[in-house]
Amino acid sequence: MSAPADPVRLGPNGRPIRPFVMPATLPGRLRVWRTIILRRITQIGVLLLFFATVHWGWSLAERPILVGNLSSSTLLGLVPMADPFAVAQILLTQHALEMQVLIGAGIVLLLYGLLGGRVWCAWVCPVNMVTDLAGWLRIRLGIRDMFHLNRKIRYVVLVLALLLSALTGVAAFEWVSPISMLHRELIFGLGLGWTALLGVFLFDLLVLKHGWCGHVCPLGAFYALVGKVAPLRVRFDAPTCTHCGECAKVCPEPQVLNLRQAAEAGMIASGECSNCGRCLPVCPEDTLHFDLRYRIHAARQPLESSSHQRRSA
């Protein structure tokens, strides 16, 4: 029984399944860690720009670089930006808003509409650093999930946030959001808001893997909807994939790696993919790459037409 009948298992494409091996050399490892390093740079960089503009008076051409916080800000004293989900909640409380914040929300919506909605989650949101730490620790400590939770629950929370905004007359998620609390307190002085964040950390560490970002957060759900049309996607080169599953092991949203759907679309099409890029360097077959939706479509066009011809012939 246990005799190695076929020591080399083959993938559906007929090639041998190889596991991902972490390179022994530092440059090799840095290559594997490249997306996580870049993500930390953008996350901390955005935070630093906010902090330094308020506390150290950082400016460019005598214009303050980035004033405010992730709820609403002004770039270089000129470009307004605002959290479109927060603005949507405020509008639902039936309060008129000034043009500045409406334009700001439009700009941010456009930005993440182009980059992939949940690029916010993986590349900007400061809570991601905390939940990533919890995720890393729970693997080290071998902690198992307490229960299963449907990942669609975040859309229910999203609808509840909008509904409660209309009913209570205040922006429902903004008033309890650990994201806003963390960011506000990092920039404008620490209070007890970090306890909300501690709750998120413990939930992710002890209760449910990727519990907050992957199941509950309505802001992530909002950007997942935005991401449905985003041009920047992870391309999937189906012929090279051996279904080894290394990508799904590191993916915080493994349901988006439905390989049958990915092969059909030529990319990870789901808006729930946060474009975090963890999967790219661990793929032993180099199957996954960042690419643009329309280029993927264009590349597949001749492929599809040829298959049509084959069928009709």
Binding site: T53, V54, P64, V67, G68, N69, S71, S72, S73, T74, P80, A82, D83, A86, V87, I90, T93, H95, A96, L97, E98, Q100, V101, G104, V156, L160, L163, L164, L167, T168, G169, V170, A171, A172, E174, W175, V176, S180, M181, R184, E185, I187, F188, G189, G191, L192, G193, T195
Partner: protein, 256 residues
């Protein structure tokens, strides 16, 4: 089709369970929101702030007003402070509002929670100064009047009246606050020399009464008030300026 029936039942049960969880969560959530939003706030808002409920709804908690303030007056509230979390306020005893004429905090506000309709800082009503006359030095008979001298709307928001006393003592020179000119900046509270400020700024709603339209201050009415007036049932009665006719008839008809 027993299978279809059980699966439908299961589907409906699951829908019910999911709905119940969502409804319970929503109720707890809305309770938290209402509790925070309707806690009576004692914090003083920046100039131009909308009414508390509207301000709470409209403020996006970005802190751009805080950054714009050249005196570091404004703070964003943390958990358990005088106003709901994340919204801007200030404590006049620490740093008052120095009433910049260009109102930079209000200009910085992206949402209009600090209303852009406020263009004259003297029209701002951030709070209202109230005097504890039991601890005010001037009211005790000392010549203090620091609040009056520091007041940026001097002579209108705070005036000094003198009350004569016995022959051997000088008159009391007492500060009086006038709500139609006080902006609530809090410079008086900052300047007050007593251990705890004897003049302090509070949200007007917390300290102001309301007269009631049925009180007729005869000496302020232009038309003479005579015994011969007949209470008409027209618009004046509806507007509450005259007493209801029943009360007058009762007395005139010798009801007593």
């Amino acid at each position: 089709m027993p299978d279809a029936k059980t699966s439908r039942r299961e589907f409906l049960t699951r829908m019910g369970q999911g709905g119940a969880v969502a409804a319970t969560g929503g109720l707890i959530w809305s309770y938290l929101l209402r509790q925070q939003a309707h806690a009576s706030p004692t914090g003083i808002r920046p100039p131009g702030a909308l009414d508390e409920a509207d301000f709470n709804a409209t403020c996006i908690k970005c802190g751009q007003c805080v950054r714009a303030c050249p005196y570091d007056t404004l703070k964003l509230a943390r958990v358990g402070e005088a106003v709901p979390i994340g919204t801007p306020y200030y404590r006049p005893r620490d740093v008052p509002c120095y009433m910049c004429v260009d109102i930079p905090c209000q200009v910085a506000c992206p949402t209009g929670a600090l209303a852009p309709s406020l263009t004259d800082i003297n029209a701002a009503r951030m709070g209202l100064a109230v005097i504890d006359i039991e601890n005010c030095l001037s009211w005790q008979g000392l010549r203090c009047e620091i609040c009056h001298r520091e007041c940026p709307v001097q002579g209108r928001a705070i005036t000094v009246e003198h009350h004569p006393r016995k022959l051997s003592r000088h008159a009391l020179f007492v500060p009086i606050v006038h709500s139609d000119h006080c902006t609530g900046c809090g410079i008086c509270e900052k300047a007050c020399p007593t251990d705890e400020a004897a003049i302090r700024v509070l949200p007007p709603k917390l300290v102001q009464g309301k007269l009631g339209a049925h009180y007729r201050l005869g000496w302020t009415i232009d038309t003479p008030v005579t015994q011969e007036f007949t209470p008409d049932t027209g618009s004046a009665a509806e507007s509450g300026l005259r007493p209801p006719s029943g009360a007058l008839d009762y007395l005139n008809e010798g009801g007593l």
